[in-house]
């Protein structure tokens, strides 16, 4: 059984998924951050594969990508760090990143090794639906890896339905037409968008991401979804924390209450 499916099978509400960039702030922090996040009580972990040209990301995640690459991060090392994480951590783990590093590693080889090291799902925002279906889907399925798609406020209902059909786990609903880490607080328009999504009665649960930075935005997102994803705000914390363990503990507590 896939850990992501297990999590969403429990009918839990207010699921908190936390995103951070592998190899940041220091190369080997990838492992301890995952361990600390589990202890602090998050439900899911998303680890970012750093890339030189992260076009969908705002400055905070861009800088963490650059720092991680400067630290010497790469996919091979990341997979070995995930194996290390899996010695203790039971949470679902997702790898998220741009397609090119995965393409160079070899998509099939990557899927095989991701599964082997304990990964449950992948988010590759620049992998198109058609190419996924025709070229890569079989590698994902052979390894019981879930492919998580994004939808945004400008995604048409017809396309949302297609994505819902292709998804098997959850759908990542981006809260605004924006890059990561750009907003503070939700507008009325965004809340209406969440309600609209909720009323579509999709077969997959929704997690809302982009613009979740504190308890208020977390709870607001959770009103209309199964949970939310925090990224840039967490990376800012990692950058500014003197002690990662206590910083992570306090951060998660402040969100979950």
């Amino acid at each position: 059984m896939n850990r992501i499916k297990e999590l969403f099978g429990q009918n839990k509400k207010n699921i908190l998924s936390v995103f951070y960039t592998a190899g940041f702030p220091n190369l080997n922090d990838t492992v301890s951050i995952a361990v600390d996040l589990e202890k602090a009580g998050v439900e899911m972990i998303e680890i970012g594969i750093p890339f030189s040209d992260p076009v969908a990301d705002g400055p905070v995640i861009q800088q963490s990508n650059k720092a991680a690459l400067d630290n010497g991060m790469n996919l091979k090392l990341l997979l070995s760090q995930v194996r290390e994480i899996r010695k203790t951590v039971k949470l679902p783990i997702i790898l998220m990143g741009y397609l090119n590093p995965v393409l160079q590693y070899g998509v099939e080889k990557f899927c095989n090794e991701a599964r082997e090291s304990g990964i449950d799902g992948l988010i590759l925002p620049d992998l198109p639906l058609r190419e996924y279906e025709t070229e890569y889907k079989s590698f994902f399925e052979a390894n019981n890896l879930l492919n998580v798609f994004l939808i945004s406020p400008t995604t048409s209902e017809q396309r949302i339905r297609t994505i819902d059909r292709l998804s098997d786990g959850f759908i990542y609903a981006v809260s605004a037409s924006s890059t990561t880490g750009t907003k503070n607080g939700f507008s009325l328009e965004q809340e209406q968008y969440f309600k609209k999504l909720c009323n579509l009665n999709l077969k997959n649960p929704l997690l809302i991401g982009f613009g979740i930075s504190n308890r208020e935005t977390f709870l607001k997102a959770c009103e209309h979804s199964t949970g939310a994803i925090v990224g840039s705000a967490f990376i800012t914390l990692l950058k500014e924390s003197h002690s990662l363990t206590s910083g992570i503990h306090d951060f998660v507590k402040s969100l979950k209450g």
């Binding site: 890339f51 030189s52 040209d53 992260p54 076009v55 969908a56 990301d57 705002g58 400055p59 861009q62 650059k66 690459l69 790469n74 996919l75 741009y98 397609l99 090119n100 590093p101 995965v102 393409l103 160079q104 590693y105 925002p125 620049d126 992998l127 198109p128 058609r130 190419e131 798609f149 994004l150 939808i151 945004s152 400008t154 995604t155 048409s156 396309r159 981006v174 037409s177 924006s178 890059t179 750009t182």
Partner: protein, 393 residues
Amino acid sequence: MKYTIDKNGYYGKFGGAFIPEMLHPNVEELRLNYLSIIESAEFKKEFDQLLKNYVGRPTPLFLAERLSEKYQAKIYLKREDLCHTGAHKINNTIGQILLAKRLGKQKIIAETGAGQHGVATATVCALMGMECIVYMGQLDMERQRPNVERMRILGTKVVAATSGNMTLKDATNEAMRHWINHPTDTHYIIGSVVGPHPYPDMVAHFQSVISEEIKNQLTEAIGNPYPDYVVACVGGGSNAAGAFYYFIEHEHVNLVGVEAAGKGIGTSESAATTALGRIGILHGSKSLLMQTDDGQVIEPYSISAGLDYPGIGPMHAHLFDTQRAQFLNATDDEAMNAGIELSRTEGIIPAIESAHAMAVLPKLDLNTDDVVVVNLSGRGDKDLETYIKWGRY
């Protein structure tokens, strides 16, 4: 038609639209509408009028007699350097802004490296009264000060890209981010045959006027529309796409793309993508890309800011892969020498990009009756500073 784009937006195995979901509606809107708009009689009429009366087309096809004597062949220069704003870039910006207007967009964004595409975009935005923001790497802003001021005079806001190496690639990243954040009212005018489908095909369409004119002008000059060689420099590849366009299916025409070797293919400072790249994905398309083993994009180098790009358009990757076109390269020194040579023999100071195309003439195995067309994509005014710094003249 084995070299044209297929229904999924691919040239062979290159192309596609590898974009995050946030960009999907914008790109899809373009994909669904671009052909019907640009093929309509009403669009064509306005486009052709502007190319004629505003850009100054057709640009001359000039028989360079002294160069012909020197290289023992008939060397013709397609004078894109005589276009308004000094380069072929404006053919595309006119086309795209007319398209943007028909899609109801009010704002325009663009990326620029050397500033030629930025100036061409700022120019058409002034002409059409549209708001314009151009992203430019901070380093390029310092290197190309006059073009920055040109854009500002034209009323465009120039925004410095401060990520990465602060050059063209990073400016493109910033422009894409801006587009993600402004999905409904803004059109992104990409300056080359790169980016997600339909951009490569659309930009090639707008630049195809170059080869259309070459055919007509050669027919008039020598009674035959087909030259033996067409030579053009390739950064992303828009001027080459335009110069090759109507000759691609005529396999007896040798197509020669010239990339910037920088300080040499064997050094770490180069921009010769076909020599140094592998298949990869950047800025929304799958093409040849200079990258590390881990798939991180390598920052290219060339003395010419317009060729300083780590990829090439998917159409060119396909022409290379199928060996329909030959790709050569020229180092900084070879290009600068060729620029001086053209200045001295024909009285034309070329843009350093175009000087790369001139630089391969000695490398072609030419016969005396061969007809060679070199696409002189831009003029050297913007590069005076670089010529002066190089100093060997």
